[in-house]
């Protein structure tokens, strides 16, 4: 009797061979219309973060321009400059973004397209989840387009940004536009798992927002094809290398659902 029960117990759990999921290899992707934003939260004292950054570069190699990375140096004590740091990458806006998007439980951490993964309580996700979230988001059709143009006057370092948001269908909910400025390839020390690297290549460093932290309101309802304008100017600090700067603009929802609908970029 006992043996019989034991056998029933074991076989009820393990008798059936499952059909394992098929995993097709992907390889580098063609750039589609939909572009995805990944906001990485990092810090120069965060030893695990460079592995997260390397994973993001790997995903950029895979998705090309469809993936738009931003590294926001806001991670509490991890973001405090090192003794030999030339720069302080921290910004008040970056800290506000961390509050707005939520604190991660650990680092590396990033928010993919500000979409709450199904069943998850937080936008902030660990490194293991990023690829899957990007792969699924990039397959969606965009419902807005952003025509972004910039004009940079090198003499006075004045940047003018013009964005035209064009919905491709009727949208009956509030949308916002966020415009960020990032600087790529900033060389400065970083703690890694292998110690301090003095000439670490910091990629896609978040520098400033040209809109409110939570985005500028675009309206509450939109007709297909009706353009919503945005114009702003910004004085680029002398310390930033203009040739490495990029403007990132994205349209997103507001409130509990913060989904980003489309992203676009323009180099200075």
């Amino acid at each position: 009797m006992r043996l019989y029960l034991l056998i029933v117990l074991v076989f009820s759990l393990a008798a059936c061979e499952e059909n394992a999921p098929d995993i097709p290899p992907l390889g580098p992707q063609e750039v589609g219309e939909r572009r995805i934003l990944i906001e990485e939260f990092t810090g120069v004292r965060c030893p695990n973060c460079p592995d997260g950054s390397a994973e993001i570069e790997n995903l950029v190699a895979l998705y090309g321009d469809a993936l738009v990375p931003i590294s926001i140096h806001s991670s509490g004590n991890f973001a405090i400059p090192l003794p030999d740091s030339k720069y302080d990458f921290r910004t008040e806006t970056g800290d506000q973004l961390l509050d707005f998007l939520g604190q991660p439980r650990g680092y590396p951490a990033a928010v993919v397209n500000r979409t709450l993964p199904e069943g998850e309580p937080s936008l902030q996700q660990g490194q293991a989840a990023w690829a899957g979230l990007i792969e699924r988001a990039v397959a969606e059709e965009p419902i807005v387009a952003i025509n972004l143009s910039i004009d940079f006057d090198e003499a006075v370092r004045e940047l003018s940004v013009t964005a035209r948001v064009v919905p491709s269908q009727t949208i009956d909910e509030s949308l916002r536009l966020s415009v960020m400025l990032v600087e790529d390839h900033v060389v400065d020390p970083q703690i890694t798992q292998d110690g301090i690297i003095d000439e670490y290549d910091h990629r896609h460093v978040f520098r400033a927002m040209l809109t409110n932290t939570e985005g500028n309101p675009l309206g509450d309802s939109f007709s297909a094809g009706k353009t919503v304008p945005f114009d702003e100017s910004f004085s680029l600090p002398d310390a930033w290398v203009a040739a490495n700067c990029e403007v990132v603009a994205f349209v997103h929802k507001v409130g509990e659902n913060k989904d980003i609908l489309q992203v676009t970029t323009a180099h200075l």
Partner: protein, 530 residues
């Protein structure tokens, strides 16, 4: 935390009982000790956690419900703020003849918990209750079989994975009375939901061919265990196996599409664990020797869960659970990806007045790299009922790089002598002193800790303590971390009021640990049973 008891009358044969546990924290920024930068310090200034349990028994049924409140709480994520409230638990239980039926949010385990443990650790806000149904049947007075199925609780929601399993446990006493055995066998299966598998597939499909792996919906685990008791000896042994599971290994190298490598990728591997404990107790002598080896024994509801989230099983810690402030400063959690460990504990009491205790822990990773060493000694001398003196020495080698995820930091080597003196003025009033000195050249450097506690039993306790960084390695100035506590107990109500400056450190509860940031502020606690 504090406590109060009020026995409610039984009416119509039923009884209502319950408990309240609540704490409020008032946060005061202290940049000197690193207590800043979270929403609580920045603008919330206040946080609270509360659990109100009610249990009712009648008509052969047991009913229970628990109301949980978290307001700007830092328990879930010490770096963040968590606010929510609602029914944290409910359950119904009924025994029908030999059949035991439970439904709702259930706490249970199989064997020692190494393949399944649904439990709660409030200080770390771990609540892994199984939201489902459990049936147990008494085959005879000595043998029981049980089965369960459900989902794991996640705050006020559940994870989507299905967990099901069962066990058969028994007891046999030799007719001559020479030995008894308590054998058991358990099996647990976890099935990922479609959404999780879809995410896993999407993630793996982005890997380069060299890193590409398969994935499974189902992971099965089996455990076999037994306790043999013979005379003064008791021997527990448990061995478990887990089939291939998709999990994230943050330490393993991954090849990238741009030709670089980084650390961290999903793996799909089987796991195993063997744990044994042999004890002797008699003639004032107690000896326990434990051994454990585990490999890939993380078992989670989703491979994307991090830290203490979504753990289905529990791996027993293989080090002494220390209680003094400095001897407990460097505590270790079991490494689910792999570790091998032995622990020896010897206690000897030649008389009622005198007791000796020594404990040795040796923990390595599976490649033989040192993770932790601890030698702990203690001598206690009691003089009648008047006073008691306890003293000893602790030596530690602590792999801070692994246990706290701080790459590149050196091993922390500590030497910590300590002493405690308890003097009883009379039956009610007593005075207790603690003194500890931790000598270390690593991490924060050396520490001195002193505590004085005056008690008027059973009502009042006043405690004052200070932890002083005598040889600071991380700050320019030596910093004091004072603490003042007042505890008031009246019947079954216990109140506490504390002013706390607490250094960053690892906090462990029930063998589960996490790194906690520094704390500065005031805490108020209430606990009550009724």
């Amino acid at each position: 935390m504090g406590s109060a008891t009020l026995g409610l009358a039984q009416e119509n044969g039923g009884s209502l009982s319950g408990s309240l546990q609540a704490q409020a924290k008032f946060f005061q920024t202290d940049t000197l000790i690193g207590a800043f930068g979270t929403p609580q310090y920045d603008h919330e200034l206040y946080g609270a956690d509360s659990w109100l349990d009610l249990n009712y028994n009648n008509w052969g049924f047991d009913f229970g419900i628990r109301f949980d409140v978290f307001n700007n709480s830092n328990l879930l994520n010490p770096q963040s703020s968590y606010t929510d409230q609602g029914i944290g638990r409910w359950y119904v239980h009924k025994k029908v003849d030999k059949l035991d039926i439970s439904g709702g949010y259930l706490y249970d385990q199989v064997g020692s918990g190494i393949i399944f443990r649904a439990y709660q650790e409030r200080p770390l806000l771990i609540d892994n209750a199984l939201y489902g149904v459990r049936l147990a049947y008494d085959i005879n007075p000595d043998w029981q079989i049980k089965g369960f199925t459900g989902k794991q609780k996640r705050q006020f929601d559940t994870y989507d994975a299905i967990i099901k399993g069962g066990s058969i446990e028994g007891f046999y006493a030799d007719t001559t009375g020479r030995f008894t055995i308590a054998p058991g066998f358990g099996a647990v299966a976890r099935t990922f939901d479609d959404e999780t598998v879809s995410q896993v597939v999407s993630a793996i499909s982005t890997y380069t061919p060299v890193d590409s792996i398969g994935a499974n919906y189902n992971t099965y685990s089996f455990t076999l265990y037994n306790t043999l008791t013979m005379g003064n000896f008791s021997w527990y042994v448990e061995g478990a196996f887990k089939s291939a599971e998709t999990m994230f290994n943050p330490f393993i190298e991954k090849s990238n599409w741009n030709g670089t490598t980084s650390r961290g990728k999903l793996i799909n591997q089987a796991g195993n664990i063997i744990y044994t404990s042999l004890s002797y107790a008699g003639n004032g002598l107690g000896i326990t020797i434990e051994g454990k080896r585990n490999e890939n024994m993380g078992y989670r509801t989703t491979p994307f869960a991090t830290l203490n989230e979504g753990t289905i099983n529990f791996l027993p810690p293989m080090s002494r659970i220390n209680t003094y402030r400095l001897t407990a400063r460097y505590a270790v959690a079991a490494q689910e990806l792999g570790e091998q460990a032995v622990q020896l504990d010897v206690s000897y009491a030649p008389s009622r007045k005198l007791r000796f205790n020594a404990n040795l822990s040796v923990i390595d990773d599976l490649d033989g790299n040192k993770l932790y060493r601890e030698l702990f000694t203690e001598v206690t001398y009691k003089y009648k009922r008047k006073w008691q003196l306890t003293g000893g020495l602790q030596l530690q080698n602590y792999n801070q790089e692994v246990y706290e995820g701080k790459p590149g930091v050196p091993f922390v080597n500590t030497v910590t002598p300590y002493a405690e003196y308890l003097y009883k003025f009379d039956r009610r009033r007593s005075l207790r002193f603690e003194g500890q000195y931790m000598n270390t050249k690593q991490d924060f450097g050396s520490w001195l800790f002193g505590l004085a506690e005056f008690s008027i039993a059973p009502t009042w306790t006043f405690t004052i303590s200070d932890m002083y960084n005598v040889d600071p390695k991380k700050t320019e100035k030596a910093i004091h971390y004072p603490r003042f506590d007042i505890y008031y107990t009246h019947k079954a109500n216990r109140f506490s009021l504390s002013y706390v400056k607490q250094v960053e450190g690892v906090v462990c509860s029930g063998g589960v640990c996490r790194l906690e940031p520094a704390f500065s502020g005031v805490q108020f606690g209430v606990s009550s049973t009724f």
